[in-house]
Symmetry: C2
């Protein structure tokens, strides 16, 4: 698909060469990240709340309890900023000034609207499958009571941009002769050893989708 539009909100003021409006850059970042940070304003006070998100097509979705203050506020169409950040590494330069981080981030400016009806059930199923692909087939289907207790809000990807830094440090020319090691220490979100629920009954095998879990 074509690029997202650059708008006054999403135009990068600094380091514009790190920016992108390309869905081929933006979508994989949104899909790899599990957590987003949702910014909104109540009584002129900014609030930033972490939550899980998923992307489907040109929308991102968040969900939670029907009584959540944030979701009630956002369901009314209040302006939001949703930011997703993947920290890919620490960049070790020869000076403190040129130390940096490698990262991929996406910033979305949007107003949300609640998702209802069949679409809401579908999005909640996709939440499970997006966070742990393969999981949906193993669990009890949702009930109407659970649906009624849950709010889902979708946000269009209209005003959206990515910012990416990758690669080695960039030092001042005269610093390359300094004796320090320099380079990148990659970082990634890595799964550990699965911890069985102490209340597990029977001996269900550890699913393959847990054994081989990875993001990105």
């Amino acid at each position: 698909m074509s690029q997202y539009a650059s708008t006054p909100k999403t135009r990068l003021g600094r380091l514009p060469k790190r920016g992108s409006y390309d869905p081929a850059v933006i979508h994989p970042i949104l899909d790899e990240a599990l957590v987003c940070h949702v910014g909104f304003v109540i009584d002129e006070q900014p609030c930033v709340v972490p939550t899980l998100h998923i992307r489907e097509g040109n929308s991102v979705f968040i969900h939670g309890s029907r009584v959540s203050r944030m979701l009630k506020h956002l369901a009314g169409g209040a302006p939001a900023c949703i930011t997703v950040t993947l920290l890919d590494g620490l960049v070790l330069a020869r000076s403190g000034f040129h130390h940096s981080a490698n990262y991929r981030s996406v910033v979305i400016y949007a107003s949300g609207r609640p998702v209802e009806g069949d679409r809401k059930w579908a999005i909640l199923d996709r939440f499970v499958e997006s966070v742990v692909p393969g999981r949906l087939a193993d669990i009890r289907p949702a009930t109407r009571k659970e649906m009624n207790a849950t709010t889902v809000i979708g946000f269009p990807l209209d005003e959206v941009s990515a910012k990416v830094r990758s690669g080695p440090p960039v030092d001042d020319a005269e610093d390359y002769d300094l004796p320090a090691w320099a380079g990148v220490l990659p970082l990634s979100l890595a799964p550990g050893k699965p911890v069985e629920d102490p209340l597990l009954r029977g001996e269900p095998p550890l699913p393959d989708y847990i054994k081989s879990y990875r993001r990105g």
Copy 2:
């Protein structure tokens, strides 16, 4: 030290048992996390920007270019919300509804002020040491020109709270007989194999502080 005060802003509306105002809970979360998400408001529009942070005593600090829009805005004392999130695991329950995430997060409401003079130099040195302990001794000291090009802003930890979920899934009583595996898949930010700068001169050894790097 004693607890931080619970205020109308930091009082948890939902799941208050997950909340804490204890510095012994809050400080280690701030210290382990590398990235925070800073929320602020410009023309009624919420903005959320990821950046590195450090904590020293009862303050957190962020830094960046003197011409950064965010830092110029925050240097004037505009209200900010700084949120730090550590995703510790995926919680796999027997129903989608009870799927969850284990996490440790901190939310700070504060107005910042620029840090100047000797204190600014000290905080920038601490940035290097906080992100990569041991690194400072290996790099060229900062210059006055670099200092002048950099803004450092400190935020007091007054209105601050933590929220933590840990442990196994909590399912509906009648669901424990379902045959699905259930438990927690731990997640953590893990270092990969260090990547040497292609422009490295000589053969400086990989420092021990990189070989053994870990957070938390």
